[in-house]
């Protein structure tokens, strides 16, 4: 069995009296697209932030590969890429300069020659269908292009796991499709993807496994088929299952669904 690239064991995060993430345990494997779902305020972003070192858990362990993010942050961070929901990018840099900057933060120049890094950056911009925009300032980019640059920066160092917070929100259908295809392609190359989303159709179509978090607790985990089985509704959509599990589906609708079965 492949070793997991991400392991969370009994992770808890509290903000004052509020427990944002409560005793969460989770494992993600290489080449897996993991969908992390939950209502607003359920603890999705907090979990991702703990996995990327932006927040420290109050208790529990977050391990990337063999490295604990709290004990060995620099080694653990080498393995991950992160694309926040609305990242602060340096408006006065061009897309190429920004990605190059990130590459140097990961010390890619130290390990490979500059031309190799430059070639990789060029390839990424071509792959991301924006080679002609690479030398324009980020401030002139559309929302979708900013998102693509952030993804490029998260992938430049051959990350083994990429965390994405709402990667398709605000994207037009073409860009959203492109992002989804990219995730499947990356997973095919062995990269693990952990993404949050509110769009059930995306999770249903591209995620290998899905975790549902509600009020800080992981309330469901498995493939779509497993979740359906758990919910006792073999023909339900993920949306129905999600609403049922999070208690946001009223009894009338539940009856209707039962009648349909």
């Amino acid at each position: 069995m492949t070793n997991p690239i991400l392991q969370l064991k009994n992770v808890t995060k509290r903000f004052g009296s509020l427990t944002a993430v409560d005793d969460l345990s989770l494992t993600v494997f290489p080449g897996e697209v993991f969908g992390f779902l939950g209502p607003n305020g359920a603890g999705k972003t907090t979990t991702i932030k703990m996995c990327t070192g932006l927040l420290r858990p109050n208790s529990g362990m977050v391990r990337l590969g063999t490295h604990d993010i709290v004990q060995e942050p620099l080694l653990a961070k080498r393995l991950l890429g992160y694309v926040p929901d609305n990242p602060f990018l340096y408006d006065q840099l061009t897309g190429r300069e920004f990605v190059r900057f990130v590459a140097r933060l990961y010390d890619l120049d130290g390990g490979s020659s500059s031309s190799v890094v430059e070639k990789r950056i060029q390839e990424m911009f071509e792959q991301f269908e924006m080679p002609e925009k690479a030398d324009e300032l980020i401030k002139s980019y559309s929302f979708g292009m900013r998102r693509k640059v952030a993804i490029a920066a998260a992938l430049i160092h051959n990350s083994q796991i990429v965390f994405l917070d709402e990667p398709t929100s605000g994207l037009d259908p073409k860009s959203a499709r492109w992002v989804k295809d990219l995730f499947r392609k990356l997973a095919g190359e062995g990269v693990a993807i952990l993404m949050t989303t509110h769009i059930m159709e995306i999770a249903e179509r591209i995620c290998d496994r899905i975790g549902i978090i509600h009020q800080g607790k992981l309330v469901a985990l498995g493939t779509l088929a497993e979740l359906r089985e758990e919910a006792g509704r073999s023909d339900s959509t993920l949306e129905d299952i999600f609403l049922q599990i999070t208690g946001e589906l009223d009894s009338e609708t539940l009856d209707l669904l039962d009648a349909k079965r």
Binding site: K49, T52, G53, L54, L55, R56, P73, L74, L75, K77, R78, L80, Y82, P84, P87, F88, Y90, D91, Q92, L93, T94, R96, E97, F101, V102, R104, L105, Y106, D107, D109, G110, S114, E118, I121, Q122, A134, D135, E136, L137, K139, S140, A153
Partner: protein, 562 residues
């Protein structure tokens, strides 16, 4: 929209502003205590300014034979004139961010609320916001004038209302002026004009308080020559007449000028409010149209850095330094603001070179060290603004950027040490170069000798090294403790303490020998030993500051959560 609705909206908006203020400073017990603590510190600093001003004003009063009836109105005229200038320049600088760039405006304007009410609420709050710095700096000096003149209690009761009335006129005029100008000029040009006005206001300050009130005496002499009836036509004259009457216990005499000032303030404030409302809405619409046009022109390929070109120094530290510089050079708004501080620096050097200031009680060294403090402050500020990775208006619109900008550094495998030293290096190098050029020019202009010039450059280097370390060490602490709103006061206190600890002993060592002579035992201490001991003490303070700042910064960087 009914008038009643507009009035209701106005009060809803005012209540909202109040709520934001309350939540910012008094939401929890901890925040309240922190706010009260900082208020106490501010009051302490104001007391210090009052005591310092008492000394200078005594000299000014003495220069006019100590005749309170003659000198007090002149002093007050000068102070209120300065207050007007300062409030006007402060107004010019805050109107754009508050009326056109505020992040909540798009939301508020899209809501079905009365545009008049929205404008009126913003106008009122801006009027109250403008004199905040002057309250801290000029009010203590006005109180000092009362102390020196042995004023009646009525003076102290009147001084605060008069202070706000004097501020109201330039504040309203500055709002009206900028809103009118937005129709024809770009915000960038207006910002430059505002900066230049600010610079003039500070130059006036230096002229006024340089030396031992020498500049003040010159201004008073000029005012003395002006006809009194002419002075009384303007708000500073009215305020001076009213305050003088209160100080001398002439209560009947204070009624008419106070009433005139009140009427003038009310007419100008209400007049500005009604006259510029329409202009404001047109200007706002115009700026909305400008934004997309500008974006199109910005979309040219940037040729400055070729994709194939290797950046000279490799490694992560230099990477961070180079990127900060790249951004600074392209961030035109920040570059222009930094340029203004540079102009202030040049203006300061020229003014100080032209006005030969008399020696203070500790000799010329004290003045020189004072110059170094100002030069370090101006060069550091210019560089700090230049290298910040976002425009000032963006930060004003979203102060969270100060912390959010670190997300990438935090996610990347970057140690706290690498970040601290790279940020320090990126800021320190240009600051120290600017400072050395400015100080060397000043030393040459005032004819300082080689020895004192070299010592002054060493002191400048030490101060620059230390202040940047303090700045970059305290930033993660400030962000972790959520002190952004109080960062200015917090940093100011840290820097003042650092300056005092470094410059204090040096001043005593260099110029204070004579001062300490009366303490007999000092007479047995050779001058060279005093030089060496005080210099060594100051250098130890600098080294300790760097060490502790790095420790604090790195420690809080590791702990930082976002």
């Amino acid at each position: 929209m009914q008038r009643g609705d507009a009035v209701t909206t106005f009060f809803v908006l005012l209540a909202n502003e109040w709520l934001i203020f309350k939540n910012t400073y008094f939401r929890t017990r901890r925040r309240t205590l922190l706010t009260l603590g900082l208020l106490l510190l501010a009051l302490g600093a104001m007391t210090g300014i009052t005591l310092g001003a008492v000394g200078v004003l005594r000299a000014a009063f003495a220069a006019f034979g100590g005749m309170v009836e003659i000198v007090l109105p002149l002093v007050l005229n000068g102070l209120f004139l300065w207050l007007m200038m300062a409030a006007f320049s402060s107004g010019v600088q805050v109107v754009l961010p508050r009326f056109y760039r505020s992040p909540d405006l798009n939301l508020l304007i899209s809501l079905p609320v009365s545009a008049q009410a929205l404008f009126a609420a913003r106008f009122l709050f801006t009027m109250l916001y403008i004199p905040r710095a002057q309250l801290f700096l000029i009010l203590p000096i006005l109180i000092a004038a009362g102390i020196v003149a042995e004023a009646q209690i009525a003076f102290y009761a009147l001084v605060l209302p008069v202070f706000f009335l004097v501020c109201a006129v330039p504040a309203a005029l500055s709002i009206a002026l900028i809103i009118a100008l937005v129709r024809w000029f770009s915000p960038k040009r207006i910002m430059i004009a505002g900066g230049i006005l600010g610079m003039l206001s500070w130059l006036f300050f230096f002229v006024l308080w340089g030396g031992e009130g020498d500049g003040l005496i010159r201004i008073l002499t000029l005012l003395e020559a002006a006809p009194l009836w002419l002075l009384r036509l303007f708000p500073p004259g009215m305020a001076a007449e009213s305050s003088t009457a209160a100080a001398l216990g002439d209560f009947a005499g204070m009624i008419l000028p106070t009433a005139k000032l009140l009427a003038l303030g009310a007419i100008i404030t209400v007049g500005s409010l009604f006259l510029i409302q329409r202009l404001y809405h047109r200007g706002f619409a115009r700026l909305q149209e400008i934004a997309p046009r500008k974006k199109q022109t910005a979309a040219k390929p940037v040729l400055a850095i070729s994709p194939k070109r290797r950046i000279p120094f490799l490694g992560r530290w230099s990477n961070l330094v180079v990127v900060q510089w790249q951004q600074g050079l392209r961030n035109h708004e920040a570059a222009l603001t930094a340029l203004l501080f540079l102009l202030m620096l040049i203006g300061y050097v020229i003014t100080m070179a032209l006005f030969e200031l008399p020696l203070g009680p500790l000799g010329s060294d004290l003045i020189l060290f004072g110059h170094i403090g100002v030069i370090v402050f101006l060069s550091n500020t210019a560089v700090g603004i230049f290298l910040f990775p976002a425009s000032i208006t963006t930060v004003e619109a979203n102060p969270r950027i100060i912390k959010e900008r670190y997300w990438l550094h935090k996610v990347a495998p970057l140690s706290g040490h690498a970040l601290f030293w790279s940020e320090w290096l990126a800021n320190f190098l240009p600051s120290v170069i600017l400072g050395i050029i400015a100080l060397a020019a000043l030393n040459i202009a005032v004819g300082n000798g080689l020895w004192i010039s070299l010592v002054s450059l060493l002191v400048l280097g030490a101060l620059t090294v230390g202040t940047h370390a303090l700045d970059h060490g305290s930033t993660p602490y400030v962000l972790n403790m959520d002190l952004q709103k109080r960062e200015t006061v917090f940093s100011l206190m840290l820097f003042i303490i650092f300056y005092l600890l470094v410059l204090g002993p040096l001043t005593i060592g260099q110029g204070g020998y004579a001062l300490l002579e009366p303490l007999r035992f000092m007479g047995y201490l050779p001058q060279w030993a005093l030089y060496a001991a005080t210099t060594a003490f100051s250098m130890v303070v600098v080294i300790l500051t760097i060490y502790l700042s790095a420790k604090l910064g790195v420690n809080h960087w590791e702990k930082m959560e976002m």
